[in-house]
Symmetry: C2
Subunit: 194 residues, 2 copies
């Protein structure tokens, strides 16, 4: 299961279920999401398998924290997963389905509305990603200065960035095509204006 391996990946740095939950709600949500109610039992399972170690710590504020960390065996398992791939397939892209069936709507105007809303969601995401990129480059100066591990984070970011840019370009093109179609329909409905 991918989520297990994502946890192994994150827990190269020690962390808690709570903090992982935050991570999935923030940065990681762009490629995976998990609720804490799913994370906590999984952490226990991975510990039982010997892939994670756990120590308890008092919290500054709130109850005790259970700090997990990937073990040597856990890292070996993560390596196996990384080399066994690529993990592509069975993606569920509801927005593509939505586009696919947009023809069910009564008019290009309604479809336009949907695509425009897609565009605004992805615009926001692009801004978010660009801010992260800027931060990385500001710290490193140049990409070549990044240690290998950070270069891989950066590569994943660029992948996301390129996907969003392509989506936005598609939105712009599709909006234009739909607008032309609206004009065409208006001309047919009201040929006097020609």
């Amino acid at each position: 299961m991918s989520l297990e391996h994502i946890l192994l990946g994150y827990l190269r740095e020690p962390s808690t279920g709570y903090d992982l939950g935050k991570e999935f709600a923030e940065g990681a949500r762009h490629f995976w999401f998990a609720e804490r109610s799913q994370i906590y039992p999984l952490l226990k399972r991975l510990e039982r398998r010997g892939w994670l170690s756990c120590r308890e710590e008092p919290s500054e504020r709130g109850p005790r924290r259970k700090v997990y960390e990937t073990t040597r065996e856990g890292r070996a398992e993560l390596r196996r997963w990384l080399l066994d791939g690529p993990h592509i397939g069975r993606e569920r892209l509801a927005y593509v389905a939505q586009t696919f069936f947009l023809g069910e709507l009564d008019s290009p105007e309604e479809a336009l509305d949907v695509v425009r809303r897609m565009r605004s969601v992805w615009r926001l995401r692009l801004v978010e990603f660009e801010a992260v990129e800027e931060e990385i480059l500001a710290q490193a100066g140049d990409e070549a200065n990044l240690p290998f591990e950070d270069a891989c984070y950066y590569a994943a970011l660029r992948l996301g960035l390129s996907q969003i840019s392509a989506k936005l370009a598609w939105c712009d093109e599709t909006i234009e095509r739909l607008e032309r179609r609206c004009e065409g329909e208006a001309a047919v409905a009201n040929p006097v204006e020609e």
Copy 2:
């Protein structure tokens, strides 16, 4: 649930659970996948809700077929789903996670291998999509000739196409960067050759 609405979308044209299963294993798999064992019970549920109608037909070859079709209420529900969107978020992109954690591997060489394999998978998919695009354009002559519904199918195809192209461009760029990193490492390990 999205799968319900995808079924409502497909069943504007009458079809059977069996044939839908084929569709999910072929064309539709690029944005959604479903097993027949999931489809059959769902079809019954949607029929109970009045969103699908069902008639039985003898099969040319094999047992009787249950042919489903979206009802007026089903179409209304589909329209609601289309207008209530965009359906973005909670995507699970294991390949991005894989890229993100690639730094766990021992060397850029191993990472290169992974990215090269991603590239070859996406290359194949691009060829597949391009063939579909060519077919559509050959039949219509020009995109403007497509009826609205087909234009939406085509728009979804172009979205997929643009996503794959961007992935391939990212692969090429990332492979190049990793190769430079390999050379850099070799130079550090073996400075005599400088």
